[in-house]
C-alpha cells in the first residue's frame, strides 16, 4: 500500500509483502524489514544482461517485512501511478519503487531516447499494482486521446502509460542551423489513448538549446 507523506516522501505499509525500490532510497522504517540488493533489477540473468547491454541500468533492492517503510530520493517530487494491467514506460532514473508483484523490464524507445540523452532504451513496469516515480517538480499528468494528440519536450518527459504511439518530430530547418531556431527543435508526439507525465523542468538534452 503506497501513500505519499508530503510530496517528497513515499510511505509503504507492508504486511509481509515485498516492494522493489531504488537502491539506497530508504529513509526510515518501523517494524521488521529486510533489505536485499537485487542484481540486474531483479529481472533474472536475462534482465541483467539486457540492462548491461542497453545501458538502462538500475540498482534495485527488495524490501520485505512488516510495518511501514519510507522512501525518498534527493528531495525530488514523487508521483504515484496505479497500474491495472497496462504498461508504464519510465526512465530508470525516475523510478523510485514498485509493488513486488509488478514486472519490470527494458524496451527500445528509438530516437526519443537519443534526444533525451538517456540512451535508446527505457524501463517498463507491467502488471497490477502501484509504482512511484520521481520528477523534478511535481509532474503534470496529461491525457492523450484520439482527437487530442500531445507534443512533449524530450527534456520534460518523465513517463507514460497506456496504449500510446510515440513519434519523433523535428523542427530543424535551415534557420536552426543559422542559430535562429525556434528553441523546440526536437519534440515527441504521442498519439492514441493514455497518460503522459511531464515535469516542470527540462533535463539537459543534447538538443537542449537548438
Amino acid at each position: 500500500m503506497f501513500r505519499l507523506q508530503g510530496s517528497k516522501v513515499l510511505a509503504v505499509d507492508m504486511t509481509g509483502d515485498a516492494v522493489k525500490a531504488k537502491n539506497g532510497s530508504m529513509v526510515a522504517y518501523d517494524g521488521q524489514m529486510a533489505f536485499k540488493k537485487m542484481s540486474g533489477g531483479g529481472e533474472g540473468l536475462r534482465g541483467m544482461v539486457t540492462r548491461r547491454l542497453t545501458g538502462e541500468q538500475m540498482t534495485v533492492m527488495e524490501v520485505k517485512g512488516q510495518g511501514t517503510c519510507w522512501f525518498a530520493d534527493r528531495a525530488s517530487e514523487i508521483n504515484l501511478v496505479s497500474l491495472q494491467g497496462e504498461k508504464l514506460y519510465v526512465e530508470s532514473s525516475n523510478l523510485l519503487a514498485t509493488d513486488g508483484g509488478l514486472r519490470t523490464g527494458t524496451t527500445f524507445t528509438g530516437l526519443r531516447g537519443a534526444t533525451q540523452g538517456n540512451g535508446l532504451f527505457t524501463t517498463t513496469v507491467e502488471g497490477h499494482g502501484q509504482a512511484a516515480i520521481t520528477s523534478d517538480g511535481p509532474a503534470v499528468v496529461l491525457r492523450v486521446s484520439q482527437q487530442y494528440p500531445l507534443i512533449v519536450d524530450p527534456g520534460a518527459y518523465v513517463a507514460h502509460q497506456g496504449n500510446l504511439r510515440q513519434s519523433f518530430q523535428s523542427g530543424v530547418t535551415f534557420r536552426t542551423l543559422m542559430g535562429e531556431g525556434g528553441g523546440e527543435a526536437f519534440q515527441i508526439r504521442f498519439e492514441g489513448d493514455g497518460l503522459v507525465y511531464v515535469q516542470p523542468s527540462e533535463r539537459n538534452t543534447i538538443a537542449g538549446d537548438v
Binding site: 523534478d136 503534470v140 500531445l150 507534443i151 512533449v152 527534456g155 523542427g171 531556431g181 516542470p200
Partner: protein, 265 residues
C-alpha cells in the same frame, strides 16, 4: 487505490487545463487561439493542438517584432509561439506566476521573464541585466520561491529582487557606518567581527510595487543583449570609465568599493 488522502493525481486534458493560468505552482498553461506569445527559448514542456515555434529572426514576424520587441541583440533567446491549442510552460521547477499589466510598466530581472503577450512591448532597461515591459497584457515570470509584493519606501537585498513596477527610483544603498574604516574593511574582507552580508541593498522610494522572491538564490542571468557603445549609456562602455576604474574592468552592480577605500585610506 491511491494512498494519498484526497485521491490520486489529477489528470489533465485540453478541456480541463486552465486558459492562461497556473496548472500548479510550477507549470503555467497558455491558451492560443490563433494568437501569439513571446517565450524564452526552451521553456515549453508540452502542448496540445497545433503550435508553431519560430525564432524572432523569422521574416514573417518582422512586423510583430517591430512593435513589441525592442532589444535587438537579445532576440536570439526568444521565440514566438503561434497557432491554436494549449501549451504548458515551466522553468527548472521554479515557481511560475502570471501578472497582468494594465497600461503600466514593470521592470524585471532578465532571467526571470518566461513569456509575454505581444500586446506588451519588451525593452531593455537602463539598469543592466533588467528588462522592462510596457503596455497592457499578461506575462509569466519565474522565481525561486513564491513572489511577495512590497510597497516602497523599502530597501531590498540585491539577490532577492525580482523586479519593480511604477517606481522609477532603484538605487544602491550602503550602510557606510558599518563598512568604512579599517575595522569595516577587515570585517568585510574576513568576515571576522561579524559581517552580516547585508551592508548593501537596493533602495526604492515613491509610489509603486517591488517584487521579491523568497530566496536569495538568483536565477541564471539571461543575456539581455549589449547596449549601443555610446557615451552616457550605462554599461555601454564609451565615456563611462571614471578615475576609480584604472583597471579597466567595469564595476559590477553588487560590487563594493575599492580595497583601499574599504580600509579608509
Amino acid at each position: 487505490m491511491y494512498g494519498a488522502p484526497g485521491g490520486g493525481p489529477t489528470v489533465h486534458d485540453p478541456m480541463t487545463l486552465p486558459a492562461d493560468d497556473n496548472v500548479n505552482n510550477y507549470t503555467f498553461c497558455v491558451e492560443l487561439k490563433g494568437s501569439q506569445w513571446f517565450l524564452q527559448k526552451g521553456k515549453m514542456v508540452a502542448y496540445y493542438g497545433s503550435i508553431e515555434f519560430n525564432g524572432i529572426g523569422h521574416g514573417r514576424l518582422d512586423r510583430l517584432v517591430r512593435t513589441s520587441f525592442h532589444s535587438p541583440l537579445h532576440a536570439s533567446d526568444w521565440v514566438v509561439a503561434e497557432g491554436s491549442g494549449k501549451m504548458l510552460l515551466a522553468d527548472r521547477a521554479f515557481d511560475v506566476n502570471s501578472y497582468d499589466l494594465d497600461d503600466g510598466n514593470l521592470t524585471i530581472r532578465s532571467g526571470n521573464l518566461l513569456a509575454f503577450q505581444p500586446t506588451l512591448a519588451l525593452k531593455q532597461s537602463i539598469v543592466p541585466g533588467f528588462l522592462t515591459l510596457i503596455g497592457t497584457g499578461k506575462f509569466v515570470a519565474a522565481s525561486n520561491g513564491p513572489v511577495v509584493f512590497m510597497e516602497p519606501p523599502i530597501r531590498v537585498d540585491p539577490q532577492a529582487l525580482v523586479g519593480w513596477a511604477d517606481c522609477p527610483s532603484p538605487c544602491h544603498h550602503y550602510d557606510h557606518g558599518y563598512m568604512t574604516g579599517v575595522m569595516g574593511g577587515l570585517r568585510a574582507l574576513t568576515g571576522l567581527g561579524g559581517a552580516s552580508g547585508e551592508e548593501h541593498q537596493f533602495e526604492f522610494v515613491g509610489a509603486g510595487t517591488v517584487l521579491l522572491q523568497s530566496s536569495e538564490t538568483l536565477m541564471a542571468e539571461q543575456a539581455a543583449g549589449a547596449v549601443p557603445q555610446q557615451a552616457g549609456v550605462p554599461g555601454g562602455g564609451g565615456g563611462f570609465t571614471g578615475p576609480s576604474q584604472q583597471a579597466g574592468t567595469p564595476r559590477l552592480p553588487g560590487q563594493l568599493g575599492d580595497l583601499q577605500r574599504r580600509f579608509g585610506l
